[in-house]
Symmetry: C2
Subunit: 352 residues, 2 copies
């Protein structure tokens, strides 16, 4: 039965037509425009469709509807498969969810990362995709404006940083996440809190730094010089964080813009012989497997919800009135031993 359905002999429209003694057009109407078919004929055709296991080809539907039924997703070779990247997990959620939205996701790459538009054009012109999911939005990003100008459906995981009027995005509130991390540290007795971030100019990194500045101000534990920046790599992070750890001192803490940066800090502490979570506390961001492995407190992005909302935006493109603003989701603080005094070490997880 299983074998029969998948074989190259699977039922064609002509088999259904013959079995139901109707024309191919009637079978087509029964599938696509059932109101045009007389009730008893419709029932007979549907019975044969079920009996023969006929499924209308997506290619045929595509041609009729002029739709590919697919959303393109640019895999930036600089973004996917990199240490601590969450886009891999996002892609799994997006792929899995897309079937519930009667679509699928087609990844593609741009030949030139500096000029991605031709790759988007090509996906549209060859009708492989009807629209796009954007990730890695950034300052000077040419994609949202080009897609909007050409009436191409899109939805973004990440704010459209250069255009406050563009609301077709879902993002995670990094500032609020870092704020929650700072509050948790102060509550846990680590009231001297520094921040290790990415170099200024990355909108995601700048947003996370803002959360640290806001929380320390609100809690009255401001030390404006206690921050440092590093590229996204363990060795860079270790070098950048060492003077910051010196400044904050034993008994303090550092919140990091990513788990990778936090692991760099973790290395420095271990090499000094300090017990992480007792002598010094750390909070990462993204809750990657790296964080779970090292018992690192981290902020988890709700990637399943992001995927679902992005697909909803795409599915309702042009049919619902556009939302006046984007959707900002709150990350979840996952508390582990790296920020937890000895007594709380059994708590694998907590929420702000």
């Amino acid at each position: 039965m299983t074998t029969e359905r998948a074989s190259r002999d699977r039922a064609r429209i002509v088999d259904v037509a013959r079995a139901a003694s109707v024309s191919r057009q009637t079978v087509s109407n029964a599938v696509n425009q059932p109101h045009k078919v007389a009730p008893d004929t419709l029932e007979r055709v549907r019975r044969e469709i079920a009996r023969l296991g006929f499924r209308p080809s997506r290619a045929a539907r595509t041609l009729r509807q002029e739709r590919a039924g697919a959303w393109g997703l640019e895999l930036n070779s600089l973004g996917v498969g990199r240490l601590g990247s969450i886009l891999d997990v996002f892609l799994v959620h997006l792929t899995s969810d897309s079937r519930h939205h009667d679509s699928h996701v087609v990844p593609f790459t741009a030949a030139d990362n500096g000029d991605p538009i031709p790759a988007y054009e090509d996906m549209l012109a060859s009708r492989i995709a009807d629209g796009f999911v954007l990730t890695d939005t950034r300052h000077g990003d040419p994609r949202p404006g080009w897609l909007r100008a050409n009436g191409v459906p899109f939805a973004s995981f990440g704010r459209i940083w250069d255009d406050p009027t563009e609301a077709n995005w879902v993002d995670v509130d990094g500032a609020a996440g870092v704020e929650a991390g700072v509050r948790h540290l102060v509550d846990a007795g680590f009231d001297r809190v520094g921040f290790l971030g990415w170099p200024v100019g990355s909108p995601v990194g700048d947003d996370r730094r803002l959360g640290w500045a806001r929380a320390t101000a609100e809690l009255g534990v401001v030390h404006p010089d206690w921050h440092a920046t590093s590229a996204q790599g363990l060795a860079d992070a270790a070098a950048a964080v060492a003077p910051l750890i010196d400044a904050v001192g034993r008994g303090g803490a550092v919140v990091c813009a990513s788990d990778v940066l936090a692991v760099g800090a973790w290395q420095v502490l271990v090499e000094r012989g300090w017990t992480v979570g007792v002598d010094f506390a750390l909070v990462g961001f993204d809750d990657t497997d790296l964080a779970a492995s090292l018992q690192l407190t981290s902020l988890r992005q709700p990637l399943a919800s992001v995927a679902d909302q992005v697909l909803h935006l795409l599915g309702s493109w042009g049919t619902e009135p556009p939302s006046p603003h984007g959707l900002l989701l709150t990350p979840e603080l996952v508390i582990r031993a790296s920020s937890s005094p000895a007594g709380d070490r059994n708590t694998e997880r907590g929420t702000t």
Copy 2:
């Protein structure tokens, strides 16, 4: 110009027909069966195709050829996005390469990881994919036999472990890679070499362990008890490797079945205050970003070649005589500080 090409007003077959004063069928023939068109007509049609920027729709070609032009790739939620996984990088190569093979890659997930076949059936029945790229092949894998029995094109990154007659795969020679790692360590003066692997029963892990046993036997440095196993996680690896490091002793080395396992061992060494690469050497496998970040010597899988060969196997399905055996590629040993005496530390990379 750019905008024009991608706009919804892009040229249709009817526009070309009108401009060239021919029928739509002639335009179609000019694209698909040019030998049927008179030379001067063909030239006229082609000129209009170029002038108007007409591109035949993939959906239309699909319907005519009964092909989706796409290969499905199951994203096992257990495999992608996990610490140290190389499948993310493989997907980028596959996606990028597929355009040169006039196809694209459509990821999908199975609702039930224990019974993936219905998801494959569904991809075929809805004609989203014409065939599949398999990854994560394993003992008891139902997929190759099912695909073969149903005449569905496939090619595998990973040996078809249960069926030695099945040659439609490309894989990386893990045993040869580990052997190269052991030889390098012995050459570098670390002649007491243990192995940290995955629990017995994983075909990939067992293959890598075999390389260690073979190399130590050939080099006359056999210590049959110097091996341990661990699940793929830092904490597990650290716990499993500690007694192995004790047994091998200062001045020795451990080759690991993955970078993640090697990082677990690296942690143990750092906590003991040993200098990695001087007091004790480590070699990982997969050359992930984790390895590069920690200056860990590792074996790099040639993922771009694997992707290219897999697409070649798929593209030649049914047209070339099947190869009598699969294709085993050799990984490259990337030498870094974790296995290099002080003098060689500037060498970022070397090859066996």
